[in-house]
């Protein structure tokens, strides 16, 4: 198959008639608009005060809660008496010595990476199938949206009823087929796999829709050229389509990973973190510590640790996304 070479793109900041390799001049202004007036001119700068509401909003909704969180983490704080005596890193030490929390960090990572990887693969495959089928989604779109728009609590209740060891639909069907009495929620591995399955059922359509939207942006002439050159369907997907939508795929993976790290509702409804701590993910453990055991200081410290962990993964994937975007030109 012949390589598809994209024509060089003109730099948006360089004049079209500039010699190759010349450094672009200072940006004169937005395309289509007259150059920005010089400093001190009558029209002048945009008043800085316009940004103050935004700054105030950021202070209120971001900086203040974060500062409050830090305050809770560094003090003796219960639900009844927040922000008590300064305790330094005691809450952090307590959180990091908690078997449940330490295990939850590992389980959250395992869950988030596995679930988002599975969903990315399945969602992309479904999107490709849809793209082959045509450009209109029709009823397929409705069916795809259904799990996505169902409240997670209802999703959890439905799955819990489906999997109930006594009277549940799955054991009944399995029993009638002579397959024994499966009880996936009764074992640590089964419960974790069940969570991944439920999450995948709910979120794969999200991935499908985003990837499908990206596929609509793949130039038709490239696909036609590949076909004329004798590329197979797989070769076309592998060498043309996937590289073109790689940026979207990484961005979707990033989104899914962040959402998966934060999973709470399905755990709360379906497994309550059990059996034992087998499905106690970090968000659920933090909820338990803060609002069921009332140890708000420890929960705040655990939240900071968990945020740092998520931050590490987000940073790694973000860098990957930038590299992919850079490679795609």
């Amino acid at each position: 198959m012949s390589a598809v070479v994209a024509p060089p793109r003109p730099s948006p900041s360089a004049p079209a008639d500039a010699p190759a390799g010349a450094r672009p001049r200072r940006r004169p202004g937005l395309p289509g608009l007259p150059p920005r007036p010089r400093r001190g001119g009558r029209v002048g700068r945009t008043p800085a005060s316009l940004s103050w509401p935004l700054i105030a909003a950021l202070l209120v909704f971001s900086a203040f809660p974060f500062a409050y969180l830090i305050g809770l983490a560094l003090t003796e704080s219960t639900l009844a008496r927040p922000l008590g005596a300064f305790t330094g890193l005691d809450n952090l030490t307590e959180a990091l010595s908690s078997t449940a929390f330490k295990g939850s960090l590992w389980r959250s990572t395992l869950f988030a990476l596995t679930a988002s990887a599975v969903q990315l693969v399945l969602g992309t495959a479904l999107a490709l199938l849809l793209a082959v089928r045509g450009r209109r989604l029709g009823w397929t779109g409705v069916v795809l949206l259904l799990p996505l728009v169902t409240p997670p609590v209802m999703v959890g209740v439905a799955w819990k009823l489906l999997l109930a060891p006594v009277g549940g639909a799955l054991p009944s069907i399995a029993g009638s087929l002579g397959l024994g009495d499966p009880n996936p929620l009764g074992s640590p591995t089964g419960a974790m796999v069940t969570l991944i399955v439920i999450d995948t059922w709910q979120w794969t359509p999200f991935v499908t829709l985003l990837v499908y939207a990206a596929l609509l942006g793949v130039p038709r002439d490239l696909l036609d050229a590949a076909r004329i050159d004798g590329a197979s369907s797989w070769q076309t997907v592998r060498h043309i389509v996937l590289p073109l939508i790689a940026g979207t795929l990484v961005a979707v993976a990033l989104l899914r990973m962040i959402i998966a790290f934060k999973l709470f509702d399905i755990v709360y409804v379906v497994t309550s973190g059990g059996p034992g701590f087998a499905t106690t993910l970090s968000s659920f453990d933090i909820y338990r510590t803060g609002l069921q055991q009332f140890q708000v200081g420890e929960a705040a410290a655990a939240t900071i640790v968990f945020s740092l962990l998520v931050g590490v993964f987000v940073t790694v994937v973000s860098r990957l996304r930038r590299r992919v975007a850079g490679a795609a030109g």
Partner: protein
């Protein structure tokens, strides 16, 4: 540099001022609680037209409806009930007061959370109010086993009892007859009966339903039933944890051992699985609150109306005295920031009165359990509790197992059930589980 004009200066000032004001308002809202005036214990509040808002435990809604109807009829006041799950009662009350929202005038509370509520300043001190109105409240009529654990903290009283709540062992007579077994008197017999029925039931019927969901009011109850049976205690007189006593360890071993013969699986079994399983005849034995007798007798809920019976909780080890545990149990108190404390106190007093308590007990489906000696003597109690009445009375008049209720008790109990759950799962022995729980309780 651009000179700052007067107009720009004023505009910037207004924007900055508004931002700072908004932030200050938010900080104030997130700050401490509002403090209303103290309760006037001698006042006779005008209740006609008053609206009193009550935060109630969802399973007790039926009982509160009885209270509300009677109170409205007698006083002309309106009672608004907000039911929430039991495990949210403590945190919701604390947050209502801490935030200064003051949404509620009366809090129903789980007695285990009393210390946290008092520490959080959520409840009004009712000590003087109770003394002032002792003629109506009749403190001596409260069951001694209930009055102090439900209301007393740091030498002061913070509420009045609302609902007793003890456990019995319910069983299905038809299944017992079918398998030729007798109601167990000891935990060893219980295990043997469970094994016999489960093995013979071949997946259609299970010998025992063991509620083991990893929350204090579920798994904690199952453990407490065995702990009292073996003669153990959570803490001694001085409050020191007693989780590594031989009785406590034997209780945990008994709990772990029955797992394979219980409705699958104990760790997955909460109220929503346990109740229908027993009422549908899928399980032969269940330890439950006394109101299971009402549910089992309700033809709309139960397929075992003529088949159920109840006995006292089994005993174990060297203990031969049947006991019971105060596994739930609720009081009602006045919100520390209520704007109508006198009216709220009047409702708290009213709900706990002998007449209203008898009314609650007499109504099917309220989930009410006795808190007063006089109630145990009433015809209403004997009629509602039927064959279980003598056992319930004996349990409450004895020395039921009291759960810890000081500040941090909920946290400790969660630690205990976490360790027990790992034991049920097979990850650690009873000894290991309880040693870890003991260490955590001592650290706290």
């Amino acid at each position: 540099m651009n000179p700052t004009s007067r107009r720009v200066f004023l505009r910037n000032g207004i924007v900055l001022g508004a931002s700072v004001t908004s932030l200050s308002a938010l900080l104030a809202a997130c700050g401490g609680s509002d403090s209303s005036g103290a309760l006037d214990v001698a006042a006779t509040p005008e209740l006609e037209g008053e609206t009193i808002k009550v935060l109630v435990n969802q399973p007790n809604l039926g009982a509160w409806k009885v209270v509300a109807a009677e109170f409205e009829k007698e006083t002309g006041a309106k009672v608004e009930l907000s039911p929430i799950p039991y495990d949210k009662l403590t945190s919701q009350a604390i947050r209502d007061v801490q935030s200064g929202a003051g949404e509620f005038d009366v809090f129903q509370y789980w007695y285990v959370g009393l210390g946290d509520l008092v520490e959080g300043g959520a409840l009004e001190d009712l000590t003087d109010y109770i003394e002032e109105h002792a003629d109506e409240i009749k403190p001596d009529d409260y069951l001694a086993s209930i009055y102090d654990p439900y209301t007393l903290m740091d030498g002061r009283r913070w509420g009045l009892p609302f609902d007793g709540d003890t456990f019995l062992l319910f069983y299905n007579r038809r299944i017992f007859d079918e398998f030729g077994v007798q109601p167990p008197q000891t935990w060893d017999e219980y295990a043997q009966v469970a094994k016999t029925i489960t093995e013979g039931g071949k997946g259609d019927v299970y010998g025992a339903i063991v509620m083991g969901q990893q929350v204090p009011i579920i798994l904690g109850c199952s453990y407490a039933d065995r702990l009292v049976g073996f003669g153990g205690r959570f803490v001694d007189e001085s409050g020191k944890p007693q989780l590594t006593s031989p009785e406590a360890i034997a209780a945990a071993e008994a709990l772990f051992a029955v797992g394979p013969d219980a409705l699958p699986t104990p760790l997955q079994t909460g109220f929503d699985q346990a109740i229908p399983a027993f009422l549908n005849g899928q399980g032969a034995m269940i330890e439950f609150w006394t109101d299971m007798s009402v549910m089992a007798s309700n033809p709309e809920q139960s397929k075992i109306i003529d088949d159920w019976a109840a006995v006292k909780l089994p005993v174990g080890g060297s203990n031969t005295v049947h006991g019971t545990a105060l596994n739930a149990g609720f009081g009602a108190g006045v919100s520390a920031i209520s704007k109508r404390k006198e009216a709220a106190a009047a409702l708290v007093k009213f709900q706990s009165s002998p007449a209203v308590q008898e009314k609650i007990i007499g109504e099917f489906g309220t989930g009410g359990d006795p808190i007063r000696k006089s109630t145990l003597q009433s015809a209403a109690f004997k009629k509602t509790f039927g064959q279980a009445a003598p056992d319930v009375a004996e349990g409450l008049e004895g020395q039921p197992l009291v759960w810890p209720n000081t500040a941090g008790a909920v946290d400790k109990l969660q630690t205990l059930v976490d360790e027990l759950a790992l034991g049920i799962q097979g990850q650690q022995s009873a000894q290991e589980a309880l040693e870890k729980a003991q260490a955590a309780w001592e650290r706290a």
